[in-house]
């Protein structure tokens, strides 16, 4: 599976929704995708990875 269609779709949704709605949209997306993944440990570990390397420069 290529990440590109998801990458493109997220960008398009975020542009349409704007910054104010972005957090809620991303929170919904994360929860729904994790549910579809069906593997709690895997989802938690991905979340931990995503929390890294967020420092702004």
């Amino acid at each position: 599976m290529s990440a590109e269609p998801i990458y493109d779709a997220l960008a398009a949704h975020l542009d349409t929704l704007g910054e104010a709605k972005a957090p809620l949209f991303l929170a919904k997306a994360a929860l729904a995708l994790a549910q579809a993944l069906g593997d709690t440990d895997m989802a938690l570990s991905i979340l931990r990875e995503c929390a890294k390397n967020l420092e702004s420069r």
Binding site: A27, K28, L31, A32
Partner: protein, 523 residues
């Protein structure tokens, strides 16, 4: 609070009795003095009396608590009411329910049903105004010669020693000292006993504050709890709606962060808020305002529920958020727990060490309530950015995905299992309720298991009748499989509060008697 022009006890549908102060007040030492004749104090007195023990019950007021307050009584509490012989009027008046519905921005996202089956004698929950709860308990107390009630009698001082307490009591006619071997502090959230003894409730304060308002309105909506998240009438807030007997609806709505309780509880503001909620759910009927108050979602408890000869029961020991409806129910279990233990100690049938199990069992139950209630509170009144965002995400998802609606399920009430209690025997069974758990009821065809239980301890044996006898023990023999899928030979020893003391796969009379002795012979 009541509408302008009506007194504190001026209800649209309930007549508050007026109790006189005692004309004479004996100063003979009492085995037990119970401070506070709220629901918890009265249940403690009735449990003691059930086992033949006398008590003096005092209350500063001349009538019941005002307002409907705690309205949800759980199944486990109906078993307590049954055991103390007060059940009948409750069953007759209260409204049973099993179902809850949650709505997000006007759309239903979840309908849940609490566990219920043909094996259950009682429904998971019953709605009844607290003044009726107090009235029905009072009727039982008044009929019980072992309980001496002194209304308009305020506790103003307490001196304690390991072997008893001396209380300073004041009524309209006199101030006097009364000695008590044991004291049960059932004097509520602002407990005088707690303050005089220099004890403090500890824990977290949640930000959530609710206005709870009762209105009278003829209606036919079934008894289903409704929760409205982010409704148009209170953007960002949460509203709960409950049906009560006598055409009374309870409407609880959350105050927003900036809203002052003082402003929110002004009559015109309450009326406008109630109207907003009724508009939102499409109610167009006329309504009358009955009573309102403010309640905040706290999780606070004493570190130790015992201080020498004093035991704290009910709100004096713990304050819990409203969402789990555990305030009253948790307190009723406290009252029953200390009641049977104290009765056995007073009658000389058990050692005082039995009382040491009160705090771990009942404080354990409170901490369990806190864990669950904090979860509900985080959903109902999210405390921070993260919880708020995820709660909103879950609600928004729930409009399209049922699994997300499940995150809004309040999961009310399962009685606490005393797994770590010093009274709980090691597990030697396989099926059915585990040691420490409250037993589920069972339909035996000609009645329910709970109706067959003895007054104190009960041995339930499946298969052959066992050769066990003990003065405090009632033995019930059932066919294998008659309850809990129990196989031939399995046996349970049940405590007076219907919690399991021990279970075995094969019945060994010596092991059962040893377990009973371990409970009773605690020095």
């Amino acid at each position: 609070m009541r509408p302008e022009g009506r007194g504190e006890h001026d209800s649209l549908y309930f007549t508050y009795p007026q109790f006189d102060a005692p004309t004479e007040a004996s100063t003979d030492p009492a085995p037990v003095v119970i401070v506070g004749a709220g629901p918890i104090g009265m249940v403690a007195a009735l449990e003691l009396a059930r086992h033949g023990q006398r008590s003096v019950l005092i209350d500063a007021k001349a009538t019941f608590n005002d307002g409907s307050r705690a309205i949800c009584i759980a199944r486990a509490s109906y078993h307590i009411l049954d055991r103390i012989g007060a059940l009948a009027p409750f069953l007759k008046k209260s409204l049973p329910w099993t179902t809850g519905r949650s709505f997000y921005r006007g759309q239903q996202i979840l309908e849940f049903a609490m566990p219920d089956s043909a094996d259950d004698r009682f429904r998971p929950m019953y709605n009844l105004q607290q003044q009726y709860i107090e009235q029905f308990l009072w009727d039982a107390v008044a009929a019980q010669p072992l309980i001496e009630t002194r209304w308009q009698t305020r506790l103003e001082g307490i001196e304690t020693q390991p072997e008893g307490a001396v209380l300073t009591l004041t009524d309209p006619y006199r101030t006097y000292a009364l000695s008590a071997r044991w004291v049960l502090a059932a004097d509520g959230a602002r407990s005088t006993v707690r303050r005089l003894m220099g004890l403090r409730l500890k824990g977290e304060n949640f930000e959530g504050r609710y206005v709870i308002a009762d209105v009278r309105m003829a209606h036919d909506y079934p008894t289903i709890r409704r929760a409205l998240f982010d409704p148009a009438c209170r953007p960002g807030g949460t509203v709960l709606i409950h049906r009560q007997p006598d055409d009374i609806w309870r409407i609880d709505y959350q105050l927003t962060e900036g809203e002052s309780a003082e402003e929110a509880t002004r009559e015109d503001n309450v009326r406008a808020s109630v109207q907003g909620v009724l508009d939102e759910i499409g109610e167009t009927r006329e309504w009358e305002l009955e009573w309102w108050s403010v309640y905040s979602a706290n999780t606070l408890a004493l570190d130790d529920y015992r201080a020498g000869p004093v035991f704290f029961i009910g709100d004096s020991a713990h304050i819990v958020p409203i969402f789990g409806v555990r305030g009253l129910n948790n307190g009723l279990a406290d009252a029953q727990n200390i009641g049977w233990k104290l009765a056995l100690v007073l009658s000389g049938q058990a050692g005082e060490g039995l009382l040491d199990s009160y705090t771990p069992e009942r404080r354990g139950a409170t901490l369990d309530v806190f864990a669950n209630a904090s979860k509900s509170a985080r959903f109902m009144t999210p405390p921070s950015f993260g919880w708020q965002l995820m709660r909103d995400a879950a609600l928004s998802l729930a409009l399209r995905f049922p699994w997300a609606g499940d995150l809004a399920n309040p999961r009310q009430m399962a009685p606490y299992t005393y797994a770590d209690s010093p009274l709980t025997a090691p597990d030697e069974g396989q099926t059915g309720p585990v040691p420490g758990a409250m037993i589920p009821d069972a339909n035996l065809g000609d009645g329910f298991l709970s109706e067959r239980m003895g007054p104190l301890f009960t041995l339930i044996a499946f298969g052959e009748a066992p050769k066990v006898s003990h003065p405090l023990l009632t033995v019930i023999t059932l066919p294998p499989g008659a309850a809990w899928n129990a196989p031939e030979g399995a046996a349970w020893l049940i405590r007076p509060d219907l919690h399991v003391a021990g279970r075995w796969t094969s019945l060994d009379p010596a092991a059962i008697l040893a377990t009973l002795d371990r409970i009773l012979e605690r020095p």
